[in-house]
């Protein structure tokens, strides 16, 4: 007993040390940067706006993680690939030809909607197929098993799409109508970023209403609460889970198009990092909660965009932008270690562990 207590104390001590050292680094770096003040207020607004745009995409992708985790208690590792598959397909089959024929610039709204539709449908198709083939037969298996299949599915999908469309980076055509800038608070906003933010808000609100107000949404929530009871109530659990995957993938497909609008390129590996970061966002906001995913996404986006100049510049880290992903991953690690229930979520991790 004595020894066990000692061990726990030692562990807590280590965890506290980590916490304190991270806080010291962040505070010290921020103070150093701010006292030096190499950036103007305009720069900071730019960082924040970019962060919000980036965060919106994370939020959209994070919805998929949250929904699936809500119903299956499983981290769908392949979710980033749903995001990639949609926008890759839309770029190759729709955006490319439309841009080449000039239709994209003549009818930007119709074209973009078409691209969006193809992207979302492809993502949904891939997600439903993946669920059917790789996840459904394993629903009763130990928890590690579906996670391993999900990792397998992730790589399988990545390299399938690489095989289908080739391994090179593909350009996403520039949309003339969205290449302008809008003055805002003394700085300029890129129209594409604005579109991303507005589209995200619309989609998130729509999704929230769908889950909260419709019968299907109610079924999803019932399945998330208790699969067996839901089945007794006459809910087709398998179908509901498929719909959940489809919803998450539709959001990911949309996020893919938004990503392509901002970064204007797609490739087969593009799903990995955003997927991982969106997972961070989902955990950050409390996995299982839709508003949580939105808040987590925004928070992570802003943090990732403001963080490197704020903390690292002051510490004289050379080429600090290289460490942008380190900040995101550190955040992932810290959140999972110190607050796995997220900012506003309840503690779900232990519930079915």
């Amino acid at each position: 007993m004595q020894r066990r207590l000692q061990n726990i104390n030692y562990l807590d001590l280590v965890l506290w040390l980590i916490r304190v050292s991270i806080i010291v680094i962040v505070v010290w770096g921020s103070i150093a940067t701010l006292s030096d003040n190499p950036y103007s207020g305009r720069n900071w607004i730019d960082f924040i706006v970019f962060g919000i745009a980036q965060g919106s995409m994370y939020a959209l992708i994070a919805i998929g993680y949250t929904l699936v985790y809500g119903v299956l208690f499983m981290i769908n590792f392949a979710h980033g690939e749903f995001f990639m598959s949609g926008v890759m397909t839309a770029t190759v089959f729709v955006a490319g030809p439309l841009s080449a024929s000039g239709y994209l610039d003549r009818q930007p709204v119709i074209s973009l909607l078409l691209i969006l539709a193809v992207s979302m449908l492809t993502s949904v198709g891939v997600a439903v197929l993946t669920e059917r083939i790789a996840y459904r037969p394993l629903r009763k298996a130990p928890r590690l098993v579906p996670l391993i299949t999900a990792i397998g599915a992730s790589f399988f999908l990545q390299y399938t799409f690489r095989g289908l469309y080739g391994s090179e980076v593909k350009p996403f055509p520039q949309v003339e109508a969205l290449s302008g800038k809008i003055p805002f608070l003394g700085t300029e906003l890129l129209e594409s970023q604005l579109v991303v933010i507005i589209a995200t808000v619309i989609m998130l609100v729509g999704l929230y209403l769908f889950v909260m107000r419709t019968k299907t949404g109610k079924a999803i929530r019932a399945v998330a609460e208790d699969k067996d009871v839901a089945a007794l109530m006459g809910i087709d659990v398998d179908r509901t889970i498929s719909i959940t995957f489809a919803l998450g993938a539709a959001m990911a497909g949309a996020a893919g198009v938004l990503y392509a609008l901002v970064f204007r390129q797609v490739h087969f590996f593009m799903g990995f990092l955003p997927g991982l970061k969106a997972f961070t966002a989902a955990v950050l906001g409390g996995i299982g909660s839709i508003p949580g995913a939105a808040i987590g996404g925004l928070f992570l986006g802003i943090f990732e965009s403001v963080g490197p100049p704020l903390f690292l510049d002051g510490l004289n880290v050379p080429a600090y932008h290289q460490l942008k992903d380190v900040i995101a991953f550190t955040m992932l690690v810290l959140i999972l270690i110190f607050r796995p229930q997220g900012i506003i979520g309840e503690r779900l991790a232990e519930k079915k562990a």
């Binding site: 990545q158 390299y159 690690v333």
Partner: protein, 559 residues
Amino acid sequence: MNPEKKFTLRDAVNQGLIAGLITSLISMVGMVELFSKRQLIANLMTTAQVFILLAPALLSYQSARKSAKNNALASGAVTGFFASIPIIVLVLLASAFDLRQFLVNVSPNLISTLTFGQGPVVGSLILVAINTLIGLLAAILHQLDEKIRNPILTGLLWTLLVGMFSEILQERLRAFFGISFTNLIIRSKALQPTVAVILLVGITAIAYFWGQRGASFSERIANQSATQRRNMIIAQRVAFFVLLLAMPLLLGTYLSEVVNNVGIYVLMGLGLNIVVGFAGLLDLGYVAFFAIGAYVMAILTSEGFLGVAQTSFWVALPVSVITAVAAGIFLGTPVLRMRGDYLAIVTLGFGEIIRIMANSDLLKPFIGGAQGVLQIPKPSFFGTSLIQPGQLYYVVLGGVLLAWFVSTRLSNSRLGRQWMAMREDEDVAEAMGINLVNTKLLAFAIGAGFSGLSGAIYASKLTSIFPHSFNLLISINVLSLIIVGGMGSLPGVVIGSLILVGLPELLREFAEFRLWMYGALLIVMMLAKPEGFWPSAITKRELHAHDESIPIEEPAAAD
């Protein structure tokens, strides 16, 4: 899905369409075209054709197995027939439109491979005929008695394998028996048709007679006295050890290099096997320790400007291992309270952080950033530098044997049992008085140590290391190989490495599709054979606890 359901014509059609879709996917992804140049049997058959016919054959076999006895042949043929439909659709589409601007791998070459060099129309007819035939053959095979079926399958498998590796075999045969003899068997990297037939018949016959006699043979072994049996085991071990030592002589330079690569993965696999297989902690950042081992070795021994000590390999080796162990404890401590999927993601995060840090300018003055560390000397042994792969092989072998020894001793030790208890249920294990903190940390530390050892050997084998060679894919690779071999099983690690690392090195076309295959394998293994190809005895017993047909092995007498 449920067994009572009758297998109808519609199911057979569905199976066929699925098979066709699988084949179309394999074609569109580019695998068929890639393998169309590798001939199996000279002028008769290429590896690509095996890939085209594999899915229809397997699923027809499935159809025949599931359907009622009297119409098994029919459903096999139906499945085969419908398997050709999606492929024909692909062929016709590709010849009508220029699909290549969208799908880069749908090339004229692929279409000509799919249609056996004939035009789309004639080719489609041939496809239908061949697929139906294959379906029928698979069904017939299924109808045969097990005593005949299994030898035929063995014969087919071995003939295909020999054909696939004929390039390597040719080189080896030449080295031992000269060109003229080799040309009788293998010419221009392909098996001669007559030899293929002889192989098929011969292996089938051997397998058949072995099947007949095998029972009496194992009976004879069972009747031996204890000393006789022990002598035989010792003789086997000695023979195996001698074979291991003589390996580079038999294999030649190229194959030794392949074996070294396999060995490095076996080392990592043995380490991860402790963490994942024994202790049940899914670690996706395992590559971090490999990287740490490699970087410590590199910096300590490098003769370039980043080297700090220019020590010898043998001094740096223990330092690398100890550093990796320390890193294992350091990174293991904060995650002690996590389990399952969260642990996997956190460790993945650690791995990525370390890779990005190694790549960044922040650490560039110490470990070279993206340019890596160069001029790492190869290990030397009493003055002779081990430059040849055949010489380096012994270093790798030593590492593997050491790790193997530690693993076997650990797996049955008190600690090993504690790990397994923890793997099954942490709460129960803790209630039984197991100190979770120490047990977990030891798993992380020992696993990291093996990985560090592997990394150190890797660094001095390659003589230069770069951060981008330590990415997540290595962790996935190692994870896949222990899953394919069987979690918690030591021979499984070797089998897994041979399949996942050795095969792709031998079939160089695979390189591009390595991860595609890994992904597919991970899914298929989890769905069909979660215990792996060579499961440990305990796992096998657990998984078949209610299966009466497999006798539960008596545990070896403890002495």
